[in-house]
Amino acid sequence: MLAFILRRLLQSVAVLLAVGLVSFFLFRYVGDPINAMVGQDTSQQERDALREKLGLNDPAPVQFVHFLFNAAQGKFGLSYRTSEPVSRMILERLPATIELSFCATLFVLFFGIPMGVYTGLYPRHWSSRLLQAISLIGVSLPTFLIGILLILFFAVILHWLPSFGRGETVTIGWWTTNFLTVKGLEALILPSITLGLFQLTLIMRLVRSEMLEVMRTDYIKFARARGLTNRAINFGHALKNTLVPVITVAGLQLGALIAFALVTETVFAWPGVGQLFIQSVQFSDIPVMAAYLMLIGLLFVVINLVVDLLYFAVDPRLRGQGGAARVGSH
């Protein structure tokens, strides 16, 4: 087990390095950093001096190492667009994205898993078929479209909920939160639903198909042959076996939500990290893009690691003997 953890840690570091490499290339070689930073009439001499000062004439590997050092401390230089330090821009907007993703995750798990279980247990009932039809629509609608429709309906027509922005936030130290005021919470509703809907349908379909497979296994048949109650079979045996592989996906979902937030944030003018990234793409603001990349990379690597560890905790077949072979079957 220890060997497994070590191996995964090493893999994670490798992935982070790779991401760092891509970031670095972006940073250094796409466009010219000097041109982006200085005005039109800066002399060639001054540009050369600046180049030297920023270490842009050092050999590439040296620059890469510097880059990594700085990245580890959160220093990504100045935005080409606003000339603000990139790290500050990101930190400012991080709470918005995190709270939104968190809410969306709750939405996804709270509704998605039960719906998946239900449609898995009673696949032929009309209510299941209805839910499945709705889920198909959920998968087919792009997130931005869902957002627009929700805004049109609930904000523009019904005036029940705000149509954009973060509404009221309360500042606690470095963090700003929506959770402490009613208006703040209201502002979270539409964006969370929008962000979560796609993943909700995915989770629901996944849980459903896992459930269906589990219900066809020999051990469920044997459990029935022993006369166990439906409740014991459905919730004791089937559910537990279904949820084990779902955990991985659910964990990855959370990461995906944080990354996908960029579309939702744009639709709702939600001042989060995602919206920042979009703006940076539109303006070719490389430092911000690079920083965002590393941030997301770090996030996913951490989530992957946690999910792998969770797997260990839940599936007894993996414990002991350093079992690293992921048992995917039932």
């Binding site: 020999d218 051990y219 044997f222 042959a225 022993r226 006369g227 166990l228 439906n230 004791g236 077949r317």
Partner: protein
């Protein structure tokens, strides 16, 4: 059926199991009738697809849809069980009829310890406290021969070997004290060396607990070892049924004769193994009259048109016109059915 003075434990009368498919309705079990006496071991033997497992599934009420019981009756201790509502049948399963399936690895839930699965089954059917149930679970594990039961009771299925797992499965099937066990190929998935042990265990336990067994298998050797009587199935029908030694040594139905002849015996030298030409027909292509007739060396005109029921034949009963006073009619050359 055989003359016993006790009323039969299980009576199956004219059972028909159908599968509606897009190509029409398939008849997988066709007018099957037999009894099992208390404590008796009935072997049910036949090729794959002959309908033996389906018969077993129908008896425990676990036919998978779209399969369904189309006709017939199944009675356990005189009471009809084929038409019980789900909840009633659930109480019968485990407590009055137990089941053992082929693959011990997939029969056990990998995420729960063996002890928990035992205790759960015990408490479903018997009014025991958790502590008492656990004690009973331990007793059962010892009975089926799991060494070191005290700490193995908390182990997970993957920590047991194949033979040990099947012992656990047997313990689970027996734990609520059923009168009948339906065992569907219980040794097929095990190593040959383990098979004998498991069969011996099953036999011993059933004698001790006075439990009857319906032992479904394609392995005649297992039947010879364990069964009191044997039923031979072919194309969804029973073609011969009788005391096991009579059927083996003195088969009355041409198919059974062919089966017995195809088993090599230690000590016999030379000679070729008998082979029955052709193959068992698919469910969509069952011949009229006697289902075996295309492959039968003894067939006559009557065999092509009239379907024989089980009739007295020596010490057993066989579904063959050869044993009827009127015989098979004019002999007809054999055709070879396509494989």
């Amino acid at each position: 059926m055989m003359a016993t003075n006790n009323p039969p434990l299980l009576e199956v009368k004219n059972l028909r199991v159908e599968f509606p498919t897009r190509r029409g309705t398939l008849l997988a079990v066709d007018d099957v009738s037999f009894d099992i006496a208390p404590g008796e071991v009935l072997g049910v033997v036949g090729e794959s697809g002959a309908g033996k497992s389906l018969t077993g599934n129908a008896i425990i009420g676990l036919l998978e849809p779209p399969g369904r019981i189309a006709a017939g009756e199944i009675r356990l201790e005189g009471r009809r069980i084929d038409n019980l509502p789900y909840e009633e049948m659930r109480k019968v399963r485990g407590a009055r009829i137990g089941a053992i399936f082929q693959d011990p690895l997939t029969s056990l839930n990998p995420l729960y310890s063996v002890g928990r699965q035992l205790v759960e089954t015990i408490q479903t059917h018997l009014p025991l406290s958790a502590a008492a149930a656990r004690r009973r679970a331990l007793e059962l594990l010892k009975e089926v021969g799991i060494p070191g039961a005290e700490h193995r009771v908390d182990h997970y299925p993957h920590q047991f070997s194949g033979g040990m797992r099947q012992r656990v499965v047997i313990a689970l099937a027996l734990c609520a004290g059923p009168r009948l066990i339906v065992a569907d190929e219980p040794t097929t998935a095990l190593d040959v060396s383990i098979q004998a042990q498991i069969i011996a265990l099953l036999k011993r336990l059933c004698r001790e607990h006075q439990t009857a067994v319906m032992l479904v298998t394609h392995d005649m050797g297992v039947i010879a070892e364990t069964a009191d009587r044997v039923a031979v199935m072919y194309a969804g029908r029973i073609v011969e049924i009788g005391p096991v030694h009579d059927v083996i040594k003195n088969a009355q139905h041409p198919y059974t004769k062919g089966l017995m002849g195809s088993i090599p015996h230690l000590g016999e030298r030379g000679g070729r193994l008998t082979q029955i030409d052709g193959a068992m027909p698919r469910l969509t292509e069952i011949p009229s009259g006697c289902a075996f007739n295309p492959r039968c060396t003894f067939r006559g005109q009557r065999c092509l048109v009239e379907r024989p029921d089980l009739m007295a034949a020596g010490a057993s009963r066989a579904a063959c016109w050869l044993h009827d006073a009127k015989g098979v009619g004019a002999p007809v050359g054999r055709e070879l059915a396509d494989a």
